[in-house]
């Protein structure tokens, strides 16, 4: 007897698994990558994608207008704020003269980051 699995449950399970995978990749990246700017790259992109997939799974799981609206709102909010926050941290990190990875090829601001606005 084949058990009939509704299609949305398959989708919920797939979205949850993919979201968990990307969140795991984000954690692995923040642990293993060589310097701040590269680590930020892992946490911002993979992390946002993972949370977006988990919330997509939640919206599919409830299949209800109110919950879908809140889940979609959260996804949109994360998509808007993640780049802004990452940009702020990256700027602060560069201005604090954080040591970059040894394999950095190009650093166009090298030597001229110090307060252009005061001169």
């Amino acid at each position: 007897m084949a058990v009939e699995i509704p299609w949305w449950e398959l989708l919920v399970a797939a979205c949850l698994l993919a979201g968990g995978f990307f969140l795991f990749v984000a954690g692995l990246g923040i642990l293993r990558l060589p310097d701040v700017l590269i680590r930020m790259h892992a946490s911002t992109k993979a992390g946002t994608l993972g949370v977006g997939l988990v919330f997509g799974a939640a919206a599919l799981y409830f299949r209800n207008t109110a919950e879908t609206a809140i889940a979609g709102l959260t996804i949109v909010f994360l998509l808007v704020t993640a780049p802004v926050a990452a940009h702020a941290i990256a700027r602060a990190a560069y201005r604090m003269n954080v040591r970059l990875s040894d394999r950095t090829h190009l650093d166009e601001w090298q030597g001229k980051y110090g307060n252009p606005r005061d001169s």
Binding site: I30, L31, R39, R99
Partner: protein
């Protein structure tokens, strides 16, 4: 708290696997938070931890079939954004002030030296 919702088997497995993966990511970013060499490292790690907390809130909503966890997740995302931007502003402002102090002291010392 044992009032878990009735799930079909496949959703239950997916929830278990996702919980394990998310907690692993949480442990990794905690390690980075402890040993991160500079302040921006730690800010990035805190940012990822709050994002993971938002994900866990969404996961709990599915686990307990309780939509109110989604509201918690939305509020948490709002606060997390503010916290990250405030940390970055603090770090950058501190550096700017330190730089200005250093330049001012150099400017004062120059006439004496020459």
């Amino acid at each position: 708290m044992t009032d878990l919702a009735e799930h079909s088997q496949i959703v239950g497995w997916a929830i278990d696997a996702t919980t394990v993966l998310t907690v692993l990511a949480l442990i990794f970013s905690l390690v980075r938070l402890i040993k991160g060499p500079s302040l921006p490292d730690r800010v990035v790690s805190v940012d990822l931890i709050t994002v993971l907390a938002v994900a866990i809130a969404g996961l709990l909503a599915v686990t307990h079939s309780e939509p109110h966890f989604l509201d918690i997740a939305l509020a948490l995302a709002l606060v997390a954004f503010l916290a990250t931007v405030a940390f970055a502003w603090y770090a950058e402002r501190t550096t700017e002030l330190l730089e200005r102090d250093r330049r001012d002291s150099e400017r004062v010392e120059e006439p004496d030296g020459s």
